[in-house]
């Protein structure tokens, strides 16, 4: 009786997925295939009479031979390294602290949501203001406490701009890490610590042998997510420095955007994007392997 009354599973599934299939086919699958095609052609948008030319691997080689691509990749690697390591470290400390019985713990946890939830462009705006050379609060604070005696142009001095970028990136990214670690900490059974206490183990010993092993799965997830995030960073830097001064903060996302939408080198931009994606996949692969290796030992 059931079978006669109800549509078959296959047909029903197709019905349910139809809107998704249509949308993703048109605005994700087709653009994806088109972008692969773009990697191998030159649209000649500036010389339309030439038409579209097949150029083989030229878009890849041009990108790979562009020193600006490599310098942006180097900055991205540095940026990602500092951002991932820094956010995991600060996030872990914040989570360990907030895992204690504290007054206002709930409020603290709620406040962590603020930097995470707001648009990165506004994060950029906030820090641009704080770091303003003449009216910024950071200079004022450092001047009043006598740490510096002259205003510093944090975002336009080549020596400082990168670190200030990292500072604002960490402000944005550590709360997510803290929230994830906090959730992971709460899965650790309390009696493990109590048993260790009976054995006379110290806090440090507990941290290494109980806490850290329990945090391992969350750490792998965070490493992967944060690395992808950092390698694809764009909004914050666009709002804060636009890559300056003298390309000192030009990460690869910005480079690819400029190639594509400012210089209309669509092919090179697409080719570069896929090179970066390959690099991200490679990193994720290495992370997973490293964590597996650790499990075996």
């Amino acid at each position: 009786m059931r079978t006669t009354k109800m549509v078959s599973e296959g047909k029903f599934a197709l019905l349910l997925l139809l809107p998704t299939i249509v949308l993703l086919a048109g605005l994700l699958l087709y653009p994806f295939i088109y972008s692969i095609y773009l990697c191998f052609v030159n649209l000649n948008l500036t010389k339309p009479w030439l038409g579209t030319q097949f150029v083989g691997l030229a878009n890849f080689t041009t990108t790979l031979m562009d020193p600006e691509f490599w310098s942006s990749l180097k900055i991205t690697a540095l940026f990602s390294g500092f951002s991932v390591a820094g956010s995991l470290a600060i996030g872990l400390i914040a989570a360990l602290v907030l895992n204690q019985k504290l007054m206002f713990r709930g409020l603290f946890r709620s406040l962590l949501l603020i930097p995470w939830a707001i648009p990165l462009v506004i994060v950029g705006m906030i820090w641009k203001l704080i770091l303003h050379p003449n009216y910024g609060v950071l200079n004022a604070l450092l001047m009043q406490t006598g740490i510096i005696h002259k205003n510093i142009a944090w975002l336009t001095e080549p020596g400082w701009s990168f670190f200030m970028l990292i500072l604002s990136e960490l402000w944005r990214s550590f709360p997510f890490v803290a929230l994830l670690y906090l959730a992971a900490l709460q899965t650790i059974p309390k009696d493990l610590y109590e048993a260790a206490k009976v054995d006379g183990a110290g806090t440090l010993h507990n941290f290494r042998h109980i806490t850290l092993p329990f945090l391992q799965p969350a750490t792998l997830v965070l490493l992967v997510l944060r690395t992808i995030d950092a390698f694809r960073a764009f909004d914050l830097i666009f709002a804060l420095t636009k890559g300056g001064p003298a390309n000192k903060t030009e990460i690869v996302g910005l480079y690819l955007y400029k190639q594509g939408f400012m210089f209309t080198k669509f092919g090179e931009s697409a080719a570069g994007s896929y090179l970066v994606t390959l690099l991200i996949l490679l990193l994720v692969f290495v992370y997973v392997k490293l964590f597996k290796l650790k499990d075996i030992q």
Partner: protein, 281 residues
């Protein structure tokens, strides 16, 4: 022993305080700036709090359209785009996730792989063809092209997350619904969706935040107040040669309110949803 304990307690509180100051101070600073006059912001000596706090910057955000061209329009655009995107993502997402969680069909595994794969596609690479497509059909700089693009970016993730929520709904409940004479749609909308409300809230907030905060898509696809969203407007304002800082920060605070309110309002679901996948795996 007790001394040691007190010391640990104080150290913990100090650390917590440091983390909280780092988290909240930048946000408080733009709040303070937004209620100061420009004279106070740029004048010397430096003042930590305005002597006469004022709301004139906020009034200007909504009335002074010459100084902050089309900001209110961009806010409205953001509101429309984010609401429609969220609604459609939740609807299509629920339908799709149900299919993956409960039904057997051909190519099911390939579909799931495709959904995962879409998360690896670089945004800039696909935005180029999307830009070309909408340019060719004359739909650049419209809210609908922006909405469709955002949905296609966000929907795979929503389906992926919702699928895991649907798995936790016991199959017996559904079978009971079938016996009671509900069809498949009935079971989905009357049994499974109501039980999965926490999951729906969490994914809904994700979709909204993703859309509201998205910068690259509207930067590429929109150009005028017809479709330009809030982050693009803020960025333009930020890039001007001389900036009215009071007005800028007030505009920023207004743009921050929706994501902050929504994430605080739904924080219970959000934190559960945020952490569910990562902690268990």
């Amino acid at each position: 022993m007790t001394n040691n304990h007190t010391f640990e307690k104080i150290a913990t509180y100090l650390m917590a305080l440091a983390v909280m100051i780092f988290t909240i101070a930048p946000f408080l600073w733009i709040l303070i700036t937004s209620i100061s006059t420009n004279k106070q912001i740029t004048g010397s000596p430096f003042s930590w709090f305005p002597k006469e706090p004022t709301l004139q910057n906020y009034a200007k955000v909504f009335t002074d359209q010459t100084n902050i061209s089309g900001y209110v329009d961009s806010l409205l655009n953001s509101l429309i785009v984010a609401s429609v995107t969220t609604f459609v993502c939740l609807l299509f997402g629920a339908l799709g996730a149900y299919a993956f969680a409960r039904l057997q069909f051909k190519f099911r595994e390939y579909f799931i792989l495709f959904i995962l794969f879409t998360q690896m596609i670089p945004g800039i690479a696909v935005l180029i063809p999307i830009y070309i497509i909408f340019k060719n059909i004359g739909m650049l700089d419209t809210k609908s092209s922006l909405i469709m693009t955002q949905i296609s970016f966000i929907l795979p993730f929503i389906i992926w997350v919702m699928r895991s929520f649907f798995y936790t709904v016991p199959k017996e409940l559904e079978d009971a619904a079938f016996i009671d004479g509900l069809g498949r749609f009935g079971a989905l909308f009357r049994i499974i969706l109501p039980i999965s409300t926490p999951g729906l809230f969490a994914t809904g907030v994700f979709a909204f935040l993703n859309s509201w905060n998205d910068f690259l898509t509207p930067l590429v696809l929109t150009s005028t107040t017809q479709a330009k969203t809030m982050p693009v407007a803020i960025n333009e304002f930020l890039g001007r040669f001389s900036v009215d800082y009071g007005l800028l920060t007030a505009a920023g605070v207004v743009g921050l309110l929706p994501p902050i309110l929504i994430s605080l309002l739904f924080q219970r679901f959000l934190i559960d949803g945020l952490t569910a996948g990562a902690v268990k795996s």
